[in-house]
């Protein structure tokens, strides 16, 4: 099979996987973490208007220490403190889906643009 076709099928798979995670992770984890964070006086990012675009920020803040540093965009200093085991699991799945989708799409773009 053509390598571009393999990449295409993998990106389709990762897209559907990403769609499932884009529903599950905000509904279960971010909702819980936000409700805990607001007790410490930290509100969730107001630029996220309900599509769940801030989900990668939460997922990164759970695993990566440097992503927890507060910036004007997102304050993740309290995210990891309130993450339950289920949140860590979902965040891991979410990161895998996003990375897989981005990698397959980007490699498809680069391969198509420069080598075919």
């Amino acid at each position: 099979m053509h390598i571009l076709e393999i990449l295409l099928y993998s990106s389709i798979f990762f897209f559907f996987y990403l769609m499932i995670m884009a529903v599950l992770f905000p509904r279960i984890s971010i909702k819980y973490i936000d409700s805990k964070m607001i007790q410490d006086g930290i509100s969730s990012p107001s630029w996220d208007r309900g599509i769940g675009a801030s989900a990668p920020f939460y997922a990164m803040a759970i695993f990566c220490k440097r992503a927890r540093k507060p910036t004007p965009l997102f304050d993740g200093s309290h995210v990891a403190k309130y993450a339950r085991p289920i949140d860590k699991f979902l965040a891991f799945l979410h990161l895998i889906s996003t990375t897989g989708f981005l990698l397959s799409v980007f490699s498809m773009m680069i391969l198509e643009a420069f080598f075919y």
């Binding site: 884009a22 509100s43 630029w47 208007r49 989900a55 990164m60 981005l102 799409v105 773009m109």
Partner: protein, 257 residues
């Protein structure tokens, strides 16, 4: 965004916005849209709180007119005073700018002095001074709020409108418009979701890397928006082809590359 930038910054943005709206009507841009959305978030919170204060004063007026017992009146007054305190702490700049509190007389207006508000509510002949939804300042805020809403959500709507137009053109020309409707709808959803996730994921990864520099996140947002835009164009094209293949019962990857 309320905690991200102070009142002065947001007011400066809204001033800027009032001047550039004619320009923006022609050049829709995602970054400006998100900035306008933040203005909207703050100004609509201010409008909501100011309306609650107005309602509290009107409650006092109605209670006073109907001869409510004293202990009940005190509770109502305390509620209005508390709301005013919150307004003064959080929205000092808006009060000065939109309600002209710094130009008020020594006696004050309901926006500069809560006791004056309570007094007017109790003893004024009519309640015009308590009406805020009729003043010109309030209309100005409403205007900003509405443009913010238009800019923030309008981008996605605009994309949808262009796609609907292309389907309608196919219908007018006697082409297979159901085919183009299904492909446009599928690629609309796919490319929007993919673009949003690509942009934020790129921004997250970059800002984690660049966080040592003070303005690393600005660079990260810029690159994230660019990458998201490019990916959205690319994925839109591919998704359209794939759904056309699905519709025509062709193998999935025909003519995709």
């Amino acid at each position: 965004m309320l905690r991200d930038s102070g009142s002065e910054t947001l007011l400066a943005i809204s001033d800027f916005q009032a001047q550039v709206i004619p320009f923006l009507a022609n050049n829709t841009h995602g970054l400006v849209g998100s900035g306008a959305t933040s203005v909207q978030a703050r100004s609509s919170k201010f409008v909501a709180l100011a309306s609650t204060y107005e309602v509290a004063l009107k409650d006092i007026r109605a209670a006073h007119k109907s001869g409510t017992p004293k202990y009940h009146m005190v509770a109502l007054e305390q509620k209005a005073l508390g709301l005013f305190k919150e307004l003064q702490v959080k929205y000092q700049a808006e009060l000065q700018r939109f309600m002209n509190t710094n130009r008020a007389s020594r006696r004050g207006t309901i926006w500069s002095n809560p006791n004056r508000g309570v007094h007017i509510a109790k003893s004024a002949r009519h309640s015009t001074k308590l009406d805020i939804s009729s003043t010109a300042e309030f209309k100005k805020i409403k205007y900003i709020e509405n443009t913010g809403r238009w800019l923030g959500n309008g981008m996605i709507l605009l994309d949808g409108a262009f796609r609907a137009n292309s389907v309608y053109n196919d219908y007018r020309n006697g082409d297979d418009w159901q085919r183009s409707l299904s492909t446009e709808m599928a690629s609309f959803g796919v490319s929007t979701l993919a673009a949003i996730y690509t942009a934020t994921a790129t921004t997250t990864a970059l800002s984690t890397l660049l966080i040592l520099t003070p303005f690393g996140w600005v660079v990260a947002v810029g690159i994230g928006l660019l990458v998201g835009f490019g990916t959205s164009l690319y994925i839109n094209e591919k998704a359209k082809k794939i759904t056309q293949n699905l519709y025509d019962r062709q193998p999935l990857t025909t003519e995709v590359f």
